[in-house]
């Protein structure tokens, strides 16, 4: 293919690692107290980050473009996020990195645990802009991490989908050589566009950084922003029909007991440790 249209979808989430144990406990307890809704951690006060697999997908797209350019092939790059305004700084960065189109589809609804609605919005958007040759997505993203969205989108668009992709190289006749994790090992295979590639633990997982001059060059460029309503999808109404619903949240007990093993000598203590704690565990190994 002389010209390849690559579109990357990404998500921006709160930096969950910045929350502490009490924040998680409050999230789980809050729902029980209020008696309604599943509860959610308070994330207003933490910064926003790219989904780790989405970040890898974005960088893989750039590397694919670079490799094709070296081979004298043209590529157009577009990126989108189904998100509120918090995605805008990331979209501006992508513009500076050479994504010709940077779009945000505002669902005006919380789609965190709604893979079916999310996939429907994405598929509708892609049909609107023209289904891409290659759609790159992160294989999964917080807070739900279902891993289902790429397949649901692929199914709506009638495309094959490879997930847990770790690397993509260009191959002859416009095809791609894709490495992915499957069945407990790794497989490398050739795939012809159009296709969906869902990126997992990629060899390259971090997005390059544009220079201040790159940023300056695209300063005047605007983002495409459209609501899901403008696409003809009422995300809020669709949510009511989402077949899976988050009912409640529970904390995970990670506290280790720190039981002191008694004894007079090292031998006695080793014996007590073995009898009370280790024997059964070692037998199971």
């Amino acid at each position: 293919m002389d010209h390849l249209r690559i579109v990357v979808g990404f998500k921006v989430t709160p930096d969950y690692e910045a929350l502490r144990a009490p924040d998680w406990a409050r999230a789980a307890g809050g729902a029980a107290e209020s008696g309604g809704g599943p509860g959610a951690p308070e994330t207003r006060y933490v910064r926003r980050v790219l989904g780790v697999f989405d970040e890898a997908a974005l960088e893989l797209a750039l590397r694919l473009r670079d490799a094709r350019a070296e081979a004298g092939l043209e590529t157009s790059l577009a990126a989108f996020s189904v998100a509120a305004r918090e995605a805008d700084p990331f979209l501006q960065t992508l513009q500076a990195l050479g994504f010709e189109r940077a779009a945000r589809v505002d669902p005006r609804a919380a789609l965190d645990f709604a893979p079916r609605v999310t996939a429907a919005v994405i598929a509708t958007y892609l049909r609107r802009i023209g289904s891409p040759d290659v759609l790159l997505l992160g294989s999964r993203c917080g807070p739900g991490e279902s891993g289902a969205v790429p397949f649901l989108v692929a199914d709506e668009l009638g495309l094959p989908c490879v997930t847990e992709v770790t690397d993509v190289q260009i191959a002859s006749r416009g095809r791609l050589r894709v490495t992915f994790a499957a069945g407990g090992g790794w497989i490398r295979a050739t795939i012809a566009p159009p296709c969906v590639l869902a990126v997992g633990n990629a060899v390259v997982s971090m997005l390059r950084v544009p220079t201040l001059k790159d940023r300056l060059a695209v300063r005047e460029r605007s983002l495409d922003v459209l609501s899901s309503g403008e696409l003809g999808v009422d995300a809020a109404a669709a949510l009511a029909g989402e077949p899976t619903v988050l009912a409640s949240l529970e904390t995970i007990d990670r506290e280790r007991a720190g039981t002191i093993v008694a004894g007079r000598t090292p031998e006695e203590k080793a014996r007590a440790l073995y009898e009370t704690q280790l024997r059964a565990r070692l037998e199971r190994l």
Binding site: A18, Y45, R48, P89, R208, V209
Partner: protein
Amino acid sequence: MSLSREAIVEGLRRIVGPDAVVTDEKILVESSVDNFRKLQNIFDVHTAPVPAAVVLPADTAQVAAILTWANENGVNVIPRTGATATEGGLESVVPDSVIVDGSMMNQIVSIDPYNMQATCQCGVPLQALEDRVREHGLTTGHSPQSKPVAHMGGLVATRSIGQFSTLYGGIEDMVVGLEAVFPGGEVARIKNVPRRAAGPDIRHVVIGNEGALCFISEVTVKLFPYFPENNTFLGWTLKDMATGFAVLRDVMVNGYKPSVARVYDPGDAGLHFSHFAAADDCVLLFMAEGAAGIAKATADGIQAIVDKHPECTQVPSEYIETWFNDLCWDASKITAEDERIRQTHNVNRTTEISADWSSINDIYQAAKARIIDEIPDITMMGGHSSHSYINGTNMYFNYFFNVVGVGPEEETDKYYLPIIGIICEETLKRGGSIVHHHGMGKARAPWVKDEYGSSYYILETLKRSFDPNGIMNKGTIIPL
């Protein structure tokens, strides 16, 4: 005549025993640099002379024996503890140096809650000391970002400062006494007293000597009551740094002692606060702490001062508190940072200076403009002021660049040192100090005479007197 590497290793083994002399090639190569040339370790491309050995003394007597031997044989000695230095202070710049690593001297000698002081050996991690004194409801008050990894000896040797310095001071305000070993093997103990006027304060010969005069083997620091429940956070957005500096000055001049008082420029704020600050916003923030009445009075006083600046827009304190709780380096952050550099070749560096209130904004503006203009491949140029005083404040320049067209080992020459050069020039021109709290190391040593001016005479005399054979950390503070 200088000793061969074999003779150096042999000499050290005789002093401390074979187990305490490390000659593993990989460890020696890694030990040839510190974070100043961290890309050499991240990419495993090394250019500095490989040290002859790392030696691990068990006590002060062994340190004294090592320094005596090194002094007699002209062997260059690089003292270190936690090895978290950022300015090349631990770099070996002459062949066959010996790294004297105090990390095995890691005993907390005493915690004295009545006299509010704690004594520990040089290799005690600050975090370990802090955890122990917290059991008594106390704190060291010292909290540099490197707290989880840095050790007490190194913190004192580099005149480090912590995030709460505006209340508790820098390490020089905390050290009440110490023990240091000099090149001839002399062990000097400075006793622990509240104050004295028996001549010059000789603590300051040792604090900040960066291993260029002596080896710090033990320190005694002050302790403070710990009232985390009273911590109060305040934050504002604003459009220019000049206003931010002016507010910081008002707070300091009016006598308030917040533990944290900072103003971030838009670039630096973007790294931390983009979830509530616009791309062109500066962020001003404070933390008040201490006994309930003090914390409240401090917070109220600051609120009243900032209220007089209508151009500052207050933000919910939770933003500041949540950010603050996630500020220190932890293990996973360091790993992720190294991996990011490996993959993207995008490098984050910092340089900190200080100046009086009249000059600080000019230095910030001039250095920033020149760096953006003169240095290629800059991806972010910004900074913040984080330590304020009655007469001025610091500026912590924080910047990122892509390493393009050169190997990782050339990153310092192509980017880092030229940037440091611009910052030092603009600072010196306006009478500021080129180093606020990282130490001179070898990175900023070339500017030492300009930094000291006529007082260089005192520094030079100290060096000549205490280290006549020039065996202590060659190239640090005073260039080769």
